[in-house]
C-alpha cells in the first residue's frame, strides 16, 4: 500500500552491521542486520545464553554496540534510553506500590500529569482485567496478573516499539496459553510494533509475523510465518502450523 502511493516510511527498528562482544570473549553478534516495520510482531528465538537479552539491552540503549548502528523510527539518536517500551523477564513491580501506581510509573518518570490520564488508565485496567485490583499490591496477585500489570506498565511508556523479554517464561502452561490468546487479541487492536523474545517455538509461531533465529555464530536467520490473522490458539493443532513447526525445528538443528 505504502509503496503504491510512493511513500517510503522508515522501519520502526533498523539494526545495521551490528557487532557486540563481552570483553575478550567470542562475539555474541557478528554484523547483524534486522529491519522491523511498523505494526509488525517479530520474535527472536535462540538457546538460552545465546544473547537474546543482550540484544534487547543494545536496542534499549543500556548497552552500546562495538560496531554498527541501531536506528529507531529511522533516527539515530545520541541515546536510545527512553525511546522504546521494555518489559523485562521478571515483572519487576515495585512491591510498595499498588497496581495502578505501578502502571503509572512511566508517567511519573516523565513527570507527566497523572490525573489527566486517569480515565484512560482506568479503561486500560479493565481491558486488562485488572479493574478490581487497582488498589491491590503486587504480592496479592497471581503470576499471570503480575505479568499483565507489567505489560500495561510497558504500554504506558507510550512508545511505539515494545520489547518483550520472555514475558510468559515463568508461567505454568495453562496460564501461558491464556496469556497468549489474550495477547493475540490485544495486539491486533493495539497497533504497536512488538519484538518478542521466547524459547517456546509454538509461542513464536502463533504470535509472530516473522521469526529471527539466533545462531551460535552470532548471526540471525529469518523465517516468515505465513499464517493469516486474526489467529487463535487452536491454530497449533492444524497441519499447516505443524508443518511450520517442523520446518523451524529443522532449521534449529541444522545450524
Amino acid at each position: 500500500m505504502r509503496e503504491a502511493i510512493g511513500l517510503s516510511k522508515s522501519p520502526m527498528l533498523a539494526i545495521r552491521d551490528l557487532s557486540y562482544s563481552f570483553e575478550a570473549r567470542k562475539p555474541i553478534f557478528q554484523q547483524v542486520a534486522i529491519d522491523i516495520q511498523p505494526g509488525e510482531f517479530v520474535s527472536v528465538i535462540g538457546p538460552s545464553g545465546s544473547g537474546k537479552s543482550t540484544l534487547f539491552k543494545l536496542i534499549t540503549g543500556l548497552l552500546e554496540p562495538d560496531q554498527g548502528e541501531i536506528l529507531i523510527d529511522g533516527q539515530k539518536m545520541e541515546t536510545r534510553l527512553g525511546l522504546v517500551g521494555y518489559m523485562p523477564q521478571k515483572d519487576l513491580l515495585l512491591p510498595w506500590k499498588t497496581v495502578v501506581d505501578n502502571v503509572l510509573l512511566p508517567l511519573e518518570v516523565k513527570k507527566e500529569n497523572k490525573q489527566q490520564n486517569m480515565s484512560e488508565i482506568r479503561k486500560w485496567l479493565s481491558r486488562f482485567g485488572l479493574a478490581e485490583f487497582e488498589k491491590a499490591y503486587p504480592h496479592e496477585l497471581s503470576g499471570g496478573m503480575r505479568q499483565r500489570v507489567a505489560f500495561l506498565r510497558t504500554i504506558m511508556t507510550g512508545r511505539e516499539l515494545l520489547l518483550l523479554d520472555e514475558p510468559f517464561g515463568a508461567l505454568d502452561s495453562m496460564t501461558k496459553r491464556n496469556m497468549q490468546s489474550w495477547l493475540l487479541g490485544l495486539w491486533e487492536e493495539l497497533q504497536k510494533t512488538v519484538l518478542f523474545i521466547t524459547h517456546d517455538l509454538e509461542e513464536a509461531l502463533l504470535l509472530s509475523d516473522r521469526i529471527y533465529l539466533l545462531e551460535r555464530t552470532g548471526t540471525f536467520q529469518e523465517m516468515k510465518v505465513h499464517l493469516s490473522r486474526p489467529r487463535n490458539p487452536e491454530l497449533i493443532y492444524q497441519s499447516e502450523f505443524i508443518e511450520m513447526r517442523k520446518e523451524l525445528e529443522r532449521r534449529i538443528h541444522h545450524e
Binding site: K57, T60, G61, L62, L81, G82, L83, V84, G85, Y86, P88, K90, L92, L94, P95, W96, L105, P106, E108, V109, K110, Y137, P138, H139, T157
Partner: protein, 255 residues
C-alpha cells in the same frame, strides 16, 4: 481481643515464664545466703533501691543520659545518611571513606574516650562524641548496603523509561534501602545507650552511667543494678519505637 491475647502469649509467654523462673531462683539463691548481697543483690533489693532513688534517677540521671543518647543518635543519623548516600553516588568517596570507617570501629572505645574528655572536657559533648563513634557506623553501612540492594534490574528498567539517576534514586533505591536502613537504626539506637554510658563512666557529673559508677565505688551493688536495669529498659524502649516506625512505614514493602 481474645485472639490478640492468644498471639501475645504464644509470642512472649515462654520468655516471660523463663524470666519469672530466673528472677525466682536468683532471689532464692541470694536469700539463702549462697551468694553475698554485695556481690549479687537480690531482685527485691534492686527493686527497693530503685524505689529509694526513684526521684533522683528519674529527674536527674535518666534525662541526662537520654539527652546524650538522643543528640548522639540524631547527629549519627544525619552524618550516617550523608556519608552512606555520598558513598553510593561517588566511587571516589567510597574508596576514601570505607577504610576509615572500618578503622574507626577497630579503635577500642575505652581507649579513645579519655581523649574525647581532653578535647571536649566534662561537657555533654565528650559523651556525645563517644555515642556518635559507636552509633554512626551501623547507619552508614546499612544506608550504603541498602542503596546497593536496589539492584541493577530495577535500575535498568527505569533507565529504559528515560529516568535520570536522581529519579532512580528517589523512586527505587531509597524505598528499597529502607528495610536495611531500619535494621541499622535499631542496632544504632541500642549502641547509643552503650556509648553514652561508657562516656559517662569516664567523666561526667550526671547520667545513669555516672550514677552506676559512683554507686559501684560505694559498693552499693543494688543501686548499680538499678541503674543497669533502667539503661537496659531505655535501650529496649528506643528499639521498640524504631521498630514501630518501621512497621508503619514499611506496611506494604513485601518482598
Amino acid at each position: 481481643m481474645n485472639n490478640a491475647l492468644k498471639k501475645w502469649v504464644s509470642d512472649y509467654g515462654l520468655f516471660v515464664l523463663v524470666c519469672i523462673l530466673i528472677v525466682s531462683v536468683w532471689e532464692w539463691v541470694v536469700r539463702s545466703g549462697m551468694i553475698p548481697a554485695f556481690i549479687l543483690p537480690a531482685p527485691s533489693a534492686i527493686w527497693s533501691s530503685l524505689a529509694d532513688n526513684w526521684q533522683l534517677l528519674l529527674e536527674v540521671h535518666l534525662p541526662a543520659t537520654l539527652k546524650e543518647v538522643l543528640i548522639g543518635f540524631v547527629l549519627s543519623l544525619i552524618g550516617g545518611l550523608l556519608l552512606g548516600i555520598g558513598m553510593h553516588f561517588s566511587r571516589v568517596l567510597e574508596k576514601i571513606l570505607y577504610p576509615f570507617l572500618v578503622i574507626s570501629q577497630t579503635i577500642p572505645l575505652i581507649a579513645i574516650s579519655p581523649i574525647f574528655i581532653m578535647w571536649f572536657g566534662y561537657s555533654i559533648w565528650s559523651k556525645i562524641a563517644v555515642t556518635i563513634l559507636t552509633a554512626f557506623f551501623p547507619i552508614v553501612v546499612s544506608t550504603y548496603d541498602g542503596l546497593k540492594m536496589g539492584g541493577t534490574e530495577y535500575r535498568e528498567l527505569l533507565l529504559t523509561m528515560g529516568a535520570s539517576r536522581w529519579m532512580i534514586f528517589k523512586k527505587v533505591q531509597v524505598p528499597m534501602a529502607l528495610p536495611s536502613l531500619f535494621s541499622g537504626l535499631k542496632m544504632s539506637v541500642v549502641y547509643c545507650v552503650v556509648g553514652a554510658t561508657v562516656g559517662e563512666w569516664l567523666g561526667a557529673s550526671e547520667g545513669l552511667g555516672y550514677f552506676s559508677r559512683r554507686m559501684s565505688g560505694n559498693l552499693q551493688a543494688d543501686a548499680v543494678f538499678a541503674a543497669i536495669f533502667l539503661l537496659s529498659l531505655l535501650g529496649i524502649i528506643l528499639f521498640l519505637i524504631i521498630g514501630l516506625i518501621e512497621k508503619q512505614l514499611l506496611k506494604h514493602n513485601h518482598r
